[in-house]
Structures are given as C-alpha cells and as structure tokens.
Symmetry: C2
Subunit: 118 residues, 2 copies
C-alpha cells in the first residue's frame, strides 16, 4: 500500500465514508451534512467502537441515552460504544459534522511516545 | 467514565490536543492552525500510528517522503506510520487542519458490522 492516500470531499455531499477511499486501517471516518430540520433517521450504539464527533458548521443537537446536548460549530463529542445516540440539525439551520469511529481502548502510545522526529 | 464527553475548540487557537480533554481511548486528535507562511517546524514519522488529516480551511502543502502534495479545504490524507511528513501553510494564506492519530490495523468491524440500531 502507498505511504499515503489523498481524497477530496466536496461540501455538497450529504454523507461520504472514507474508509475505502483513504485505505484506512485504524478508523472509519464519515463526513455528514444534515439539512435544516433533518436528522439521522435512527438512534444507534456500537459493539466495540468509540465515536468522536466534530461539528464543522451549523447548529443542532445530539440525544445520548435520553440526554439532549446542544451542538454548534467547534464542538467535539466522544461517545462510548454503549451510548445510544441520535443527531439532529436545528429547525432553521443545517448541521455538518465529521464522525470518527475507532476501536475503544486501541490506542497505545501517541504524539511524544509514538512520534519520531526525522 | 461518562458515556460521553463534550469539548469546544475555538477558532483562535494554534493547536488543541483532544485526547485528555475528551477522555479518548482509541485515538488522539489535534486541531491545528498554521498562519500564512508558517509550517510545522520539523518532519516526523510514527512508530505504529496511522494519521488521518482533514484540511478544514485555507491552503498549503504536505511533503511526504520528499513528494509535495498540494492541499485545500476538503482534502483528506491518510499517512502510514513510516511516512516522513511535514505540513506548510501557503505563503499568502493560512492552513487549518485536524490530525487524527490511530493505531494502524486496529480497526475491526465498523458501521454495519459494529453498529447496533436501537
């Protein structure tokens, strides 16, 4: 496999999944855009994956295990595998977000303990 | 540990590391902003971590193993652990990007094979 893979995501796509497009081996990443008033049509949890969400633009909310969390651009969320989650755009504004899916407890060293200045 | 953690990253910070702020267990994520003409002051590789970069705004380039890759907002890059990488903003425009660090080959199931509709 090549040492790197590049892929461009344009802003007009409702959902792009990057695992295969980037040849990822340690994560799945999706880029998502809900229109104003829209939502993911179901709640979900995970067997073993932690999810990390980044709100890149707009406004909305997540409901996690019955608790409502208001979301604006710049907000980040970690959700444990067992959390029952569902995402909603605001009624008057869309919500764009990145979702990163990784195996919980899989990270060992990082940054100073995994990086090599060269 | 709580089922979720939320953290807000404001746009005026040059670098924010999220591992501890979000209690991450499967990734480290950093949010980075290089000013016009700026660069990460060193090249680096990794022992075992794959890195996934997302350009959120601006323009610049990465040099990976001597190859120059032009970058604009919406570009995503996977870099294998051994790739020697360095990031640069354009001379006349800054470069903002997210860097996701995960253990290479750590992902097992994902989405349809790890998610549970509930």
């Amino acid at each position: 496999m090549s040492v790197y893979t590049k892929y461009h995501v344009s802003q007009d796509q409702p959902r792009v999944e990057l695992h295969d497009n980037l040849s990822l081996t340690g994560a799945e990443v999706s880029v998502n855009a809900l229109p104003a008033g829209g939502s993911v049509p179901f709640a979900h949890a995970h067997k073993q994956n932690e999810e990390i969400y980044c709100v890149t633009s707009g406004r909305g909310k997540a409901i996690i295990d019955g608790e409502t969390i208001e979301l604006v651009a710049g907000d980040w969320l970690r959700v444990a595998p067992e959390g029952r989650r569902q995402f909603f755009a605001a009624e008057d504004e869309g919500l764009s977000y990145i979702c990163i899916q990784v195996k919980a407890n899989s990270l060992e060293g990082y940054t100073m303990t995994d990086g090599i200045i060269c």
